[in-house]
């Protein structure tokens, strides 16, 4: 039954992907993968985390169908590896899941052939497959069925018509090779495996920070003094900076474009660097025994104050970035800054938790990689090109139409609609029409495997 499922999976893999571009096929592949994984790992699917990650995997597959963007495809791959890794070991960290997922996908079958039994200290040899019998049960029934089909074809014209309609012309040598690749892939992933040294190390490593054996109070007193002076000065500096920064934000009323642009660009880059350095300094100060020093309350309070001030700094950057977006339109770079700021806030909050609850650096790494994964999944569900175009046309004070035309085809239908409502110069109108025409032609050429949500939109418009 399980072997048969792998064969069906391989057949569907080749049918979905051979000579096709990405579209509905990736979502269907996600469903097939989940079925194969569920049949082979039923117990693991009782776990809540597995169900959540399976859901996320399906969501990213749907995102690819709705808007065929690179972010959605990357998110789909990332959630695929995460799910496979989770099935191999559900207590490990997300980055170990990625490693296990990748390893299972690449060499799962090969690894299982050399699985080592710790109790018997022997390599478990697989039972010999009776290939002759396997060939018999496939070839003999196939030949007999073909003979009978040709006999029945002559006996009944209606049956003959149905048989004639079956077109297997798409199967060729390359298609079969592709099916082989599909079989290899499903054979690898159906029983996920783990990179043992990395997984064992990860499971052994907890989140709690331990007191070292060389705990020395005089040494810690000096460290505490240094930390208090350093973080106090940094607090004073950031307060001063924030006052001037907020004054700048409140007083600037539509500054000249070039001035504003250079201010925001250089400012944001410097501030992004300063937040990273802030986290590094805090991690260095609270790296060891200072966490267990009784007199560290002042240092901790100063650190918390500095983190909160850094979060206010992030807010001020996001206000500046929003103003910039309002005046000059939405672009990928500006969205990237917002994504970075979200991650920076997560980093700062997790640093605060780490200091407060006396956790180690692995805790930070685990929490932040998970946060990055969630941000990736969330950002994959948004059709950015469409929203950038929509915002720039309807809300931004000014915009760069060339930039919008150069975006992916996801905004082609919207651009065409907007070009009917607005007046552009001849060249721009020609470019928009050309982009729209090419995209519609591309959509019309799509086979059922390559279907996209825009295909349905186009069909409903034509009706």
């Amino acid at each position: 039954m399980k072997k048969l499922l792998l064969f069906i999976g391989a057949f569907l893999f080749s049918t979905l992907f051979y000579d096709k571009s990405i579209g509905l096929n990736l979502f269907l592949f996600s469903i097939i993968t989940l079925i194969v994984l569920f049949v082979n790992n039923k117990d693991d699917f009782k776990n809540k985390r597995t169900l959540i990650y399976s859901g996320l995997y399906l969501v990213t597959g749907l995102a690819v169908f709705f808007h065929d963007s690179l972010v959605a495809v990357i998110a789909n791959f990332a959630s695929f590896f995460t799910l496979i890794g989770l099935l191999s070991e559900n207590k490990s960290s997300i980055y170990v899941n990625w490693l296990n997922g990748l390893y299972t996908t690449i060499a799962g079958l090969f690894h299982r052939n050399f699985s080592f039994n710790e109790t018997t200290q022997k390599v478990e040899q697989k039972k010999d497959v009776d290939y002759i019998h396997l060939a018999k049960i496939i070839i003999i029934p196939t030949i007999i069925v073909i003979i009978f089909i040709s006999l029945y074809q002559n006996g009944n014209p209606l049956f003959s018509g149905i048989i004639d309609k079956i077109d297997l012309g798409f199967i060729n040598f390359q298609w079969l090779l592709f099916a082989g690749l599909g079989y290899y892939l499903f054979s690898n992933i159906h029983k996920p495996i783990e990179v043992e040294p990395a997984t064992e190390l990860d499971l052994k490593t907890g989140n709690e920070l331990a007191k070292s054996t060389t705990f020395s109070i005089p040494k810690l007193k000096k460290e505490n003094q240094l930390g208090i002076i350093l973080i106090s000065l940094l607090n004073a500096l950031i307060v001063l900076f924030l006052i001037t920064d907020i004054t700048f934000i409140l007083n600037n009323e539509k500054v000249r474009a070039s001035v504003f642009s250079s201010q925001v660009h250089s400012g944001i880059n410097a501030l992004i660097g300063s937040i990273v350095i802030a986290i590094v300094i805090l991690l260095y100060v609270f790296r060891g025994d200072i966490n267990f020093y009784k007199e560290n309350k002042t240092l901790k309070r100063l650190a918390f104050a500095w983190i909160i001030l850094n979060i206010i700094l992030v807010l001020s950057i996001s206000v500046k970035n929003s103003q910039y977006i309002y005046y000059f339109g939405l672009t990928y770079k500006r969205i990237g800054v917002l994504v970075y700021l979200t991650l920076a806030v997560t980093g700062l909050v997790s640093t605060l938790l780490k200091i407060d609850k006396i956790k180690n650096i692995w805790y930070l790494l685990r929490l932040n990689t998970k946060a990055a994964f969630i941000v990736l999944i969330l950002s994959s569900t948004v059709n950015w090109d469409y929203h950038i175009t929509n915002y720039n046309f309807n809300y931004a004070e000014s915009m760069d139409i060339k930039y919008l035309i150069e975006l992916s085809n996801n905004n082609a239908l919207l651009l065409k609609e907007e070009s009917k409502l607005r007046v552009f110069d001849k060249k721009t109108t020609w470019k928009i029409n050309n982009k729209h025409r090419k995209y519609v032609r591309e959509l019309e050429k799509n086979s059922w495997q390559e279907l996209q949500y825009d295909n349905l939109k186009l069909e409903s418009k034509q009706l």
Binding site: L102, Y103, I106, A107, H111, F114, F116, P197
Partner: protein, 110 residues
């Protein structure tokens, strides 16, 4: 001409084989316990094959999905797996002393 092509192909294949074999041997050489094949397999094989796969994928992407490059990378990848399989399944050599050999040939019969 055909002979030259065959010679060229054999030469290239041999070089590729030697490179892969050497890269796998390196895994055994850097291991603290090179005689324990299972240990080397467990610790080094996953990283080796992930990096190897990454290199093959990079080569395919750089060649913009050229079919000959895909075939080449597939063959090289499978060759690497086969060599690993051969090394792991290979029985360890038993070195005997001259005395032991003599004893085997002339056992002390009662």
């Amino acid at each position: 001409m055909i002979l030259l092509i065959i010679f060229g192909l054999v030469f290239i294949c041999s070089i590729i084989f030697v490179i892969i074999r050497l890269s796998i041997s390196c895994m055994f050489w850097i291991s603290k316990n090179p005689k324990d094949k299972q240990h080397v397999f467990k610790v080094y094989f996953p990283y080796y094959i992930i990096i190897f796969f990454g290199l093959c994928l990079t080569a395919i992407i750089t060649s913009k999905g050229d079919s000959s490059m895909i075939c080449f990378c597939t063959v090289v990848y499978l060759l690497a797996l086969i060599i690993w399989r051969y090394i792991i399944k290979q029985k360890p050599r038993v070195y005997r002393t001259i005395k032991e050999n003599n004893e085997l040939q002339n056992p002390n019969l009662p």
